[in-house]
Symmetry: C2
Subunit: 242 residues, 2 copies
């Protein structure tokens, strides 16, 4: 496993001028518009990593921010109990690597082979200083993402296994790249264990929940990593039943 994006050098202290980059650390993910992404790519370097590569570890000096160009990345934290809390799955256009006090707050690992852009924080800071509009967008995205993940966390707390999985499938469906998959088909590139850690369930419960959704004719699993939504309204009903 390679490790990138972490050196012993401290990040640019001028980051202090953009405190939201630090404050909003836990979100760990931002979705940008095409225009914003183009701007950021100008200052970044392309990076291709095989599946399972650790992009950076929790606590490492946060000197870079990353943008997903292709593939999927997971962001997680290992808890003292041995459990793993999977905070987010990151796809095309997602930005990740935000830090708190100059350190990454999560560990991130490639789920599939991925293409990333790496943006040095120092240069990003300069860009944000020059472009107040971009900074503004950044802030809006940060708070938006925070809200989303907060909503997820709250909601996960009160739902049976099937409901959580239904919600997860809908989430993945909403984010899928329409150009690369058929109507109703949703790729699930991550492992069952990853899904379990994300939903706060055991592997086995995810399996059983999948079986349950199948039994109710809501979805059909073409294979482990591709699910087809059979009854979208029925699925939505279960997913929404808070």
């Amino acid at each position: 496993m390679r490790k990138v994006g972490a050196t012993d050098a401290h990040p640019d202290p001028s980051l202090r001028a953009v405190p939201f980059l630090k404050t909003a650390a836990d979100a760990d993910t931002i979705v940008l518009t095409t225009r914003q992404r183009e701007q950021l790519i100008l200052i970044g370097t392309r990076l291709r990593l095989p599946a399972r590569t650790i992009v950076y570890r929790e606590g490492a000096p946060a000197d870079s921010v990353f943008a997903v160009m292709d593939g999927a990345v997971k962001s997680y934290r290992d808890l003292p109990s041995g459990r793993r809390e999977l905070c987010a799955f990151l796809f095309r256009r997602d930005l990740f690597g935000l830090a708190e006090r100059g350190r990454y707050v999560n560990c991130t690992q490639a789920v599939t082979r991925v293409t990333l852009y790496r943006l040095p924080v120092s240069q990003l800071t300069l860009l944000l200083k020059r472009d107040t509009e971009l900074q503004f967008q950044f802030l809006a995205k940060v708070t938006h993402e925070l809200r989303e993940s907060q909503r997820r966390a709250v909601v996960i707390n009160r739902r049976d296994a099937a409901g959580r999985l239904a919600m997860f499938i809908e989430l993945m469906a909403a984010r899928r790249d329409r150009s690369t998959c058929r109507e109703g088909e949703v790729p699930l590139p991550m492992s069952r264990t990853d899904i379990a850690d994300y939903l706060g369930l055991s592997r086995e419960s995810v399996s059983r929940a999948a079986k349950e959704l199948l039994r109710r004719h809501l979805v059909h699993f073409e294979n482990t990593h591709l699910v087809r939504i059979v009854d979208a309204t029925g699925l939505a009903k279960i997913a929404a039943a808070v």
Copy 2:
């Protein structure tokens, strides 16, 4: 039950100039410094409400923001399933009433008799425009609170009933007014049902968890609404066990 803070008038459209006030809606609570609070109080009006008064309802036009001067307020949402999700308890110095698209996102109700300051959003907006430092502080507080509540939600999902209650008691202990209660004593002004809704448990489970903490000599309940921490380190251990 009286209802205040909700009229049919639309909120000041200039609110659009302060999008973070809307964006950060779900946090619903901000803790301000004394200086900031003083500034805000200048534009507000004092309000005394008896226990159980609804301050505003979910979905009502958000024309005011409120600051708690004394007493406790709860912020909640009733879910379609009939469950109630209790988002936050608000105490002295807490600010609440942030909205999304001009509407309140939660329902808020006085837990005890309370004294509030009511701040018209229009005037608050003006103040924020004049005082960039205050606006900045506002943003920092918003993101901070968001992070906190996010952390809570995530953490709640992986803990047994006793652990959740231990965490809750610690939370309340951290926020209690030292001047009005003895060392180690923590007032719990809210009902067991409220605690249950906050922790995602049933009333009965809260009762049993309380008994469990008592059995382990970690706390002692002087009465229903006053708990004394007997073994702080032991309690912290249970509360921290993720």
